[in-house]
């Protein structure tokens, strides 16, 4: 598969099959992803991994803690908790990416940007080995202080991504992209 095909054909995968995911495979891909970024400077990020059944149960605990910690939420959302736990535990492998914040916006954005670039390498490398994933940030169930507290996010850290990872049977169709010409301007000759 050529690089451009790999980039164009990668899809976000939300539905995984039962094939187990080896932690060693994931770590190899992440190591290569890091290397391909060819960055200078400090490592200002870290990862949490949940692959074993116990770790995935713990992840489910972290995610449902907010609902369970609130009496009203527990009553109104009680029926949601079990299906939610089941859905989380079913995902074969999970990688959480965390960046160290910095008051200097240049330093902070460089760290954030480099971590995101590593994660994109990771997504491509995984796809090359038919391992799919989805980068989750938007869920309100994840972006909250209770969840951050549960996973041990420090004061000087920012949650960047939860990647749900697994092998899959079917990839969704790609959605057409707008051509780059529409988004580009050129600085005229002085």
């Amino acid at each position: 598969m050529s690089l451009r095909t790999l980039i164009r054909e990668r899809r976000s995968i939300r539905k995984f099959n039962d094939e187990p995911v080896s932690q060693e495979v994931v770590m190899n891909l992440l190591q290569k992803a890091d290397q391909l970024c060819a960055y200078n400077g400090d490592v200002r990020w870290r990862y949490l991994y949940a692959g074993t059944f116990e770790e995935r149960e713990r992840l489910a605990d972290c995610i449902t803690a907010k609902i369970l910690g609130n009496r009203l939420a527990k009553i109104t959302l009680g029926t949601v908790i079990n299906p939610l736990r089941k859905w989380i535990i079913k995902v074969p492998a999970n990688l959480i990416a965390i960046v160290k914040t910095d008051l200097d916006p240049v330093k902070h954005n460089e760290a954030y940007g480099t971590l995101c670039r590593i994660l994109q390498n990771f997504q491509l490398l995984a796809w090359e080995q038919r391992l799919g994933m989805v980068w989750i940030t938007s869920q309100p169930i994840i972006q909250n202080d209770v969840f951050y507290n549960q996973i041990g996010l420090q004061e000087d850290e920012q949650f960047v991504a939860l990647l749900q990872i697994g092998y899959f049977d079917k990839a969704p169709k790609g959605r057409e992209r707008t051509s780059a010409e529409c988004f580009m301007t050129e600085l005229a000759t002085k």
């Binding site: 060819a38 972290c62 997504q123 491509l124 938007s138 707008t178 580009m184 600085l187």
Partner: protein, 159 residues
């Protein structure tokens, strides 16, 4: 070549040529790079191509061309971070594709990026912010690939 077998050197100021970087090539590579994941297909990225002749006076003169990558500002921190992540995924796609064509892409960040006055001088609307400035230059023929020493991954199990 499989991505797994690719090696990309760390940026080295001396490994590049001053020959022009054609806009057509940049667009060709970007049109593949836009297949980066982006939430709700918002496609938040915008580009300003700067050839040598159009270079503002505060830009690095030792670089043949630059691509300033901007994105829409968003009041929602979540959406802003999502869009920023999408833009960096695109940037990484672009960097990988460029390497195949012997085009080096150095992802740079500068204090002026956060100063509205400088952004206006580049024609960036107030509702957009700069994600990064990509320094573009072709690698010279004599390229010493400085092998990147693998960094130790900081990974712990979720407890």
């Amino acid at each position: 070549m499989k991505l797994m077998d690719m090696t990309i050197p760390r940026h080295n100021n001396h490994a590049f040529e001053m020959r022009p970087v054609p806009k057509e090539l940049v667009l060709e590579l970007l049109n593949h790079a836009v297949w980066a994941p982006n939430h709700k297909l918002r496609e938040p990225w915008r580009f300003i191509y700067i050839p040598y002749s159009g270079k503002p006076d505060w830009f690095d003169k030792k670089v043949p061309a630059q691509l300033v990558v901007t994105l829409k500002s968003d009041n929602s921190t979540n959406r802003q971070n999502e869009d920023l992540a999408a833009v960096f995924c695109l940037i990484q796609n672009f960097k990988l594709l460029a390497w195949e064509r012997r085009l080096g892409v150095n992802v740079t960040f500068h204090e002026w990026m956060y100063v509205p006055e400088y952004c206006r001088r580049l024609g960036i609307p107030d509702k957009e912010k700069v994600a990064a400035v990509l320094d573009l230059a072709f690698y010279s023929d004599i390229l010493e690939t400085s092998l990147t020493t693998p960094s130790t991954l900081n990974v712990s199990s979720l407890q």
